[in-house]
């Protein structure tokens, strides 16, 4: 075991430039994935707040008797997706408009006739706050004869959803490209080491060292580079995160960083990347020694 780690550490001395290069490419690969991952999780966090506010509003035809509406709200609150139903009368709508839309306060005050319709506001349960569930509930609401029109924030919720998915995808693609480069560079480093040590390796073979014993140091070397790359990428991500959070002048103060399990995942991924790169190269080149 001592021999194994000694041999693995030696590679950093033998090819320092290539070793540093392998570590940095792994770091960059994971940094890219991590950065886009951070954007994605922060978007999701932001969306969660928005989705909680997603309401479906059904506007009611003028002249519908209040009793009909009260009975309907009881039906609606029995829908599996629905958390809360709120009946807003025409007067309440007007009061709310006066309170919320300060700019139009004067306009609303002088009205002879209330132009605002009554409405039913429906809030969905957690887990149903996505575009498809909202659409489904909206369709059902339209089925009521007294419902004039149904509105919900479908479009921009969908857009944010798309944006989040796109961010994740872009990050993954760029990250994978870097990962491929990292694997190639690790492969080149190991090829170099194998050529430098061809004589030693052939003697190891001759005296009966097992294949795993010969491969061991190379695999350990790859895994160590992956570990370093993973740690470095986390440091870079954290640096980027702090930069965005603190230079944004408070608007992004609520940004969140990876949870511990995410960080472990990134490091594990780095180790696997390093291990994979060396495994491929060792398999290819050891045969020719």
């Amino acid at each position: 075991m001592k021999l194994l780690s000694r041999e693995a550490l030696l590679s950093f001395r033998r090819a320092p430039l290539l070793s540093v290069l392998s570590v940095t490419t792994i770091a960059f690969s994971l940094f890219t994935v991590g950065l886009f991952g951070l954007v994605a999780i922060n978007l999701r966090e932001a969306l969660r707040g928005i989705e909680e506010r997603v309401e479906i509003v059904a506007y009611i035809l003028r002249g519908t008797p209040a009793e009909t509406i009260v009975i309907a709200t009881q039906d609606i609150s029995a829908f599996p997706e629905v958390q809360e139903v709120n009946y807003v009368t025409e007067e309440q709508a007007l009061q709310r408009a006066r309170a919320e839309l300060v700019e139009f306060r004067d306009a609303y005050r002088d009205l002879q006739v209330n132009p605002l319709p009554a409405s039913i506001e429906v809030r969905l349960k957690d887990g149903y706050r996505d575009a498809t569930s909202a659409e489904r509930v909206a369709q059902r609401l339209k089925g009521f004869g007294f419902v004039d029109d149904v509105r919900f924030g479908r479009e921009w919720v969908q857009k944010l959803d798309h944006l989040r998915n796109l961010t994740g995808l872009v990050g993954l693609v760029i990250g994978l490209a870097f990962a491929a480069v990292a694997v190639v560079i690790i492969g080149v480093t190991i090829r170099l080491t194998i050529l430098q040590r061809a004589r030693e390796i052939s003697i190891m073979r001759l005296v009966g060292a097992t294949n795993w014993f010969i491969r061991g140091p190379f695999l350990l070397e790859g895994a160590m580079k992956g570990l370093l790359g993973g740690l470095l990428s986390l440091a870079l991500c954290y640096g980027g995160y702090l930069l965005f959070r603190d230079k944004s002048g408070g608007t992004l103060a609520g940004l969140i960083f990876f949870r511990p399990e995410h960080m472990v995942l990134i490091i594990v991924f780095g180790v696997l990347l390093g291990l994979g790169g060396s495994l491929v190269s060792v398999g290819r080149h050891l045969r020719h020694v």
């Binding site: 001759l206 005296v207 097992t210």
Partner: protein
């Protein structure tokens, strides 16, 4: 210990390196493998330590069937053999003792036994640790490394090919001593003077075929 049964070896270009080679080596034997370059000596040696596999026939070495040997068993077989070459195959940046210790380290020997085992084989081959080694001394180090795992069979592929006459005599005597201790020695050589000095068994190869085996042919001559 060693059995070749109707062994063929074809190279990818179609050339035949070995054609229907059969022989058998028993415990305690010393065998010379002779013939010109390209006659098939090296191919036989390589098959003995599973560096090459036969294309046809069967090769058995120390209980292992080389023809069907699994990759995992190759190191196991090699730990029961000692192999020396014309070019010594030593690590030049290391001392004699370090070279021998290397063979033990990489085969997973217990660390606390290594120093003693290295000393024992160095004494056996008549060397003490010093920095500059002559050709003969380098070959002795290689032989010591081959012996350190107490092999049942010692394979020597032209072990004296790079040595002057005096060193050749010394190394050859060492191989004879090792054989006297019970180890099977197979020595490939084209030094016919050396071969004629002794009464050891001779197997002669020509163009991939076994053309003379003193153990078989002399018995046949006596029978006539």
């Amino acid at each position: 210990m060693i059995r070749f049964s109707n062994v063929y070896k074809a190279y990818p270009n179609g050339a035949m390196a070995l054609k229907d080679v059969s022989f058998h080596v028993s415990k305690g034997e010393f065998v010379f493998l002779t013939g010109h370059s390209g006659a098939g000596k090296s191919t036989i040696m390589k098959m003995l330590f599973a560096e090459q596999r036969p294309s046809g026939g069967e090769v058995r070495v120390s209980g292992y069937n080389v023809t069907t040997l699994r990759p995992d068993d190759v190191p196991r077989l090699r730990r029961r053999l000692g192999v020396v070459f014309q070019d010594f195959r030593l690590l030049e940046d290391r001392t004699a003792a370090e070279n021998i210790a290397f063979a033990l380290e990489v085969t997973g020997a217990r660390t606390d036994t290594i120093a003693a085992r290295v000393m024992r084989v160095l004494t056996q081959v008549g060397l003490s640790s010093k920095a500059e080694l002559s050709g003969g001394e380098q070959q002795r180090v290689a032989i010591a490394r081959a012996l350190v795992n107490d092999p049942a069979i010692l394979l020597a592929d032209e072990p004296t090919g790079n040595l002057d006459e005096r060193a050749t005599r010394g190394v050859f005597q060492l191989l004879r001593d090792i054989n006297a201790g019970g180890t099977v020695v197979v020595m490939a050589t084209h030094d016919l003077d050396l071969v004629r000095q002794t009464a050891y068994r001779i197997i002669e190869m020509r163009d991939g075929s076994l053309v003379y085996d003193s153990a078989v042919d002399e018995a046949a001559a006596e029978a006539q």
